[in-house]
């Protein structure tokens, strides 16, 4: 790796860190500057970055990644229950556990590719979800979800201090992990996670993954055994998901099986696609947009709509309200579904591709020799 490349990385990382860490400032004007939502941005950001390493680079569409999210959450809560309320062991253990699970599932699923791979991961996701609700209830606490309690042993914590009144909160060496401190902790983890993904994207390993995506057969003829590369990518992305799951438990120490449902896996696919599959920033962009609008749209009710369209004459106002009402509040998922379809149909490359197209159009307008729009189709 030459100097300019690392320099590029450094500059990119500095800007990225600055943008992420100042999120509370620049998101405040659009009403997203509170810790709860910021934590969601960052945590799902990690999830999507990890997913992108698998789907974006290798093109293997996994419909079961939420399993690792769930495993991460469960492991983290168990670590809080058994060991200590400190978050470091929790996220470490969760990442490792998710990695192990990913190795198991990946070992089997990666024997097939294409749609069969999707269905295998889907089958594993359903299996884990069903098991979490039935036989594994002693571990997962079934429908209630796994929660902290007063009777938890917390061996390491007990060695240093006696149990306090009420439920303890998660902490990092005395700093409570709620509100802004929780956000900053997750943000730092995101920056590290992003750095790793950047390294992977720009490494020979990343190139090989991309080669698998574009032509696996040729890759095999060149003498590469593609399986170990796929395995590694699958495990890494599983570990990212486990990390994200652990952070969910850090900011809110409970874990439920619904996190593993395959529709939850669908959500991360959606975020990645919306932003731009296989791009560095796309998934983060997708997460930001979806989580932000989820927040806004689910809060809107008919009254707000009436207020919004109050400038229109009476019958038009009620017409507009009737049309838009199904898309907001409870109906947010409808908007999501429509958005998803529109993106897949018209912009398979996601928002990043859209921005590229706009950029190209502008460039062509400046250049008189080329008719505008020529480069758009390429």
């Amino acid at each position: 790796m030459n100097f300019s490349e690392t320099g590029n990385n450094l500059k990119l990382m500095l800007i990225f860190s600055a943008v992420i860490l100042t999120m509370p400032l620049w998101l405040a004007p659009i009403g997203a500057g509170y810790p709860d939502l910021l934590q969601k941005f960052v945590i799902f950001g990690i999830f999507a970055i990890g997913y992108n390493i698998l789907f974006g680079l290798t093109g293997y569409l996994s419909f079961g990644h939420a399993v690792f999210l769930g495993i991460g959450s469960y492991t983290a809560v168990w670590s809080f229950k058994l060991l200590t309320m400190n978050v470091l062991p929790a996220i470490l253990l969760a990442t490792i556990m998710a990695g192990v699970a990913a190795a198991l599932i990946g070992y089997i699923s990666l024997r097939r590719s294409g749609i069969y791979f999707s269905i295998l991961t889907l089958a594993f996701a359903q299996m884990s979800y069903n098991l979490a609700y039935s036989v594994l209830t002693p571990i997962t606490n079934g429908e209630t979800g796994l929660q902290l309690s007063q009777q938890d042993p917390r061996i390491i914590d007990r060695a240093f201090s006696t149990a306090g009144e009420g439920l303890p909160s998660t902490e990092l060496f005395g700093i409570s992990m709620s509100g802004y401190s929780g956000f900053y902790f997750c943000a730092v983890v995101l920056i590290i996670a992003f750095f790793f993904s950047l390294k992977i994207f720009r490494s020979p390993f990343g190139m090989k993954l991309q080669a698998i995506k574009s032509n696996q057969t040729r890759m095999k003829y060149t003498g590469f055994n593609t399986r170990p590369y796929l395995m590694t990518a699958f495990i890494i992305s599983g570990m990212y998901a486990g990390l994200a799951g652990a952070l969910m438990a850090v900011t809110d120490p409970l874990a439920g099986a619904e996190r593993m449902q395959w529709t939850a896996s669908g959500e991360v696919v959606l975020m990645t696609i919306l932003g731009g599959v296989g791009t560095l920033f796309g998934p983060l962009l997708g997460v930001g947009i979806i989580k932000y609008f989820e927040n806004i749209f689910s809060a809107i009710n008919e009254e707000t709509l009436h207020h919004l369209f109050s400038f229109l004459p009476g019958f038009l106002e009620s017409l507009m309200v009737t049309i838009t009402a199904p898309f907001v509040g409870e109906g947010w998922h409808l908007t999501l579904g429509v958005l998803f379809m529109v993106i897949v149909i018209f912009l398979p490359g996601g928002i990043m591709e859209g921005m590229d197209r706009i950029k190209k159009r502008f460039r062509h307008q400046g250049d008189d020799n080329d008719p505008p729009g020529e480069g758009v189709d390429q």
Partner: protein, 338 residues
């Protein structure tokens, strides 16, 4: 013995539903080459056709309740009863079987519109994109249904005469206590009938012959001057109708709610994969096989040996089949072999 027989029936019953959905799924895949993740939503749509039809029939007028004399009481009386008296009540009672009148045209229309409006544009795209766009469409269908019908399951009873249980033990000379719900028996017979009809349609008609030829070699058929696309659009409509009928008839067994399709979708995909992508007999055989396996796995004797096996048996079988027989039970050579 009784228990085993009962589980066998249960399995066939469940398998009937799986087979019906998987049949449409694999038909679409075999002809159009499209992986349709919205197929479960079509099943759900069929169930809601039954719900809608029932609601339509029971549109009521508020009338004075004359049986209560202490105060002014009102009750809802369906128009049908007011107009036709006894006959009206009978029609309402038979709403579910009659809703087939609504289900078939609606599902056919939905299927044709979906193929022309959406699926058509995805023939040449990758399977991943097909999965994604139909997944998005499934969410949209599901949310529209939720907007109109709410999130709670809606009980949709079968006609009174078949709401009890049939004494099958007595028929077959087994113990008298062996009974089985009438409606489930009807469902099993219904699914077998529909499957037979679909196969007969494909085997015995000229249209079916063209479709089968198209499944083998699409280009060749097109070169012979046959409008393959038109035929395949109809095939999609047919698949949607079959899924819708399966859902409609399933409504008394499982009160429909807006996300029932998603649960069935995953299962039916597993069924298709086990049967072999693009193989119709495979889909049917695998549907019944997995249904029976699942109901046997949920017997207490087996659950006590292998706890939780009932929850995962289908997926476990699918994983095993995919690893040992990549083509599935009856998959044809060259179809989706990566």
């Amino acid at each position: 013995m009784d228990a085993i027989f009962l589980q066998l029936l249960n399995g066939l019953d469940k398998g009937g539903a799986y087979a019906l959905i998987a049949l449409g799924l694999t038909l679409v895949f075999g002809t159009l080459g499209v992986v349709n993740f919205a197929h479960g939503a079509l099943f759900m749509l069929g169930a809601f056709c039954a719900v809608t039809f029932q609601k339509l029939l029971t549109i009521s007028l508020k009338v004075r309740d004359t049986s209560i004399t202490f105060f002014e009481a009102y009750k809802e009386q369906p128009y049908l009863e007011i107009w036709f008296g006894e006959l009206g009540s009978t029609i309402i009672d038979w709403a579910l079987p009659l809703s087939i009148l609504l289900t078939i045209p609606v599902m056919l229309l939905v299927g044709l519109a979906m193929e022309r409006g959406l699926i058509k544009h995805f023939y040449k795209r990758t399977h991943a994109e097909q999965i994604l766009v139909t997944f998005g469409f499934a969410i949209v269908l599901q949310e529209i249904i939720r907007h109109f019908f709410g999130a709670n399951p809606i009980p949709t009873p079968a006609p009174d005469i078949v709401s009890g249980s049939a004494p099958i033990g007595a028929w077959l000379g087994l113990s008298e206590s062996l009974v089985y719900p009438w409606w489930r028996i009807i469902y099993l017979l219904f699914s077998i009938t529909v499957i037979t009809l679909v196969f007969a349609f494909l085997q015995l008609t000229t249209f079916g012959m063209v479709v089968r030829a198209g499944m083998q070699d699409r280009e060749m058929v097109a070169m012979l001057g046959i409008n393959v696309e038109r035929k395949f659009t109809i095939v999609f409509g047919l698949a949607a109708t079959v899924a819708g009928l399966a859902g409609m008839m399933y409504a008394p067994i499982l009160p429909p709610d807006y996300h029932m399709g998603m649960d069935f979708l995953v299962l039916s995909f597993v069924v298709v994969v086990v049967g072999g992508m693009g193989s119709l007999p495979g889909a049917v055989a695998a549907g019944f096989l997995l249904g029976i396996l699942q109901s046997f796995a949920s017997m207490n004797e087996i659950k006590s040996i292998l706890p939780g096996i009932d929850q995962i048996i289908i997926y476990l079988v699918a994983v095993l089949i995919l690893l040992t027989r990549p083509r599935g039970l009856m998959g044809r050579k060259g179809v989706m072999e990566e």
